[in-house]
Subunit: 222 residues, 2 copies
């Protein structure tokens, strides 16, 4: 593996040298190979780690304590599943349920569990993601959007496809640092893409509803 | 249609009387039927309008100027498509492209247009949703997540399903106020649900990747 000096590492990671030294002192970046009293050599693994830290702190906007949590997990050589769980937890965070949805939480919990069981999903029932889904269902019910909750299995099938693509993409990354960076960037940068695509799809289906002839006759000669 | 007094309207809309009077003065709520010097009667249409205003301002957090824009459009008796376009625009807002993605915008624009054309989507190319999608693609490319962009058609197909469900649900609402309220609540409250479901799906697929036997053997007798 080709080695490089600190200055080259800084250039390639797009980070100031002072920041990299700070990450070294904090134990977030593994030490380089000592080559002199005041010099060390770094390689691609250091670069990957810096890219991961940059994704967590600058792009996802996580506080340093959360960044440390994720990096520690990655250093423990975990499975992708465990690394992903810790990363998701750091990204999702916790919210306290507001009083107005508290009454609906137990019911929402049952609705979600039923849907997940029917789909055969293996997911952590005590993860922040699970709690976020329960909260979202209770919110929809509280606002009278029961139709959306009734369609839960259909939304879950669409989400299944998105989650499958996300995991397929990160699973091709080389090394756990790159993989977790993929999870972070996927969560933070892929989300706005999906949101925007859904809005465009809404436009398309609203147009089809207003003028079904154009949608169904397309390509059929008169 | 059963009529009610201001006090009952306030109770059912879960809003203070003073707030409702403010909306009346601002022209956001249509006037009631005058029944005396200082009294008026209101009906379900007033209630629906207040629920729409509440969804726009309190749940979506839009400033009053944006709320006014949406309400004015609804008052003009537009098609669902036009009403949805104005609502989406108010919800998405505009962001200026950062310098670091500017170089990739034209390319991202081509990639998105190609995908939309292949899908046969009829969507406004100059809508904020379209620009948000272009920006998201350019961001992914700038961070080296090219794999996610390569999978754009697959993400778009999943989004298609979500958008179809969203529109199906709002199209069943009675009256344009209720419909637009559905679009708002769908955007604001359905989004966290989809986000959480995608995270759960990621967990499931990461688990299936780690232990494919369990996933594929399910239901197959030994």
């Amino acid at each position: 593996m080709a080695e490089m000096r600190m200055s080259e590492l800084a250039t390639r990671a797009e980070l100031p040298v002072a920041t990299i030294k700070y990450y070294l002192r904090e134990g977030l970046l593994q030490p380089g190979r000592r080559t002199g009293v005041n010099q060390a050599a770094y390689d691609e693994r250091h670069l990957e780690r810096l890219r991961l830290i940059r994704a967590l702190s600058r792009i996802a906007g996580l506080p340093l304590a959360k960044v440390r949590e994720v990096v520690r997990t990655v250093d423990g050589d975990p499975s992708l599943l465990d690394a992903m769980a810790v990363t998701q937890d750091a990204l999702v965070g916790e919210a306290t349920d507001e009083e107005r949805i508290l009454g609906g939480v137990a019911e929402a919990e049952r609705e979600l569990s039923g849907t997940l069981a029917a789909l055969g999903w293996r997911a952590h029932p005590d993860s922040p993601a699970h709690r976020a889904a329960v909260r979202a269902i209770a919110e929809l019910r509280a606002e009278g959007l029961d139709d959306a909750v009734v369609r839960l299995p259909e939304y879950a099938r669409a989400a299944d496809e998105v989650g499958r693509l996300d995991v397929e993409i990160v699973a091709r990354a080389e090394g756990l640092d790159a993989m977790i960076r993929g999870v972070v960037l996927g969560s933070v940068l892929r989300r706005p893409l999906l949101d925007a695509l859904v809005l465009l799809a809404q436009q398309h289906h609203a147009a089809a509803l207003a003028d079904p002839r154009r949608a169904s006759d397309e390509g059929i000669p008169d």
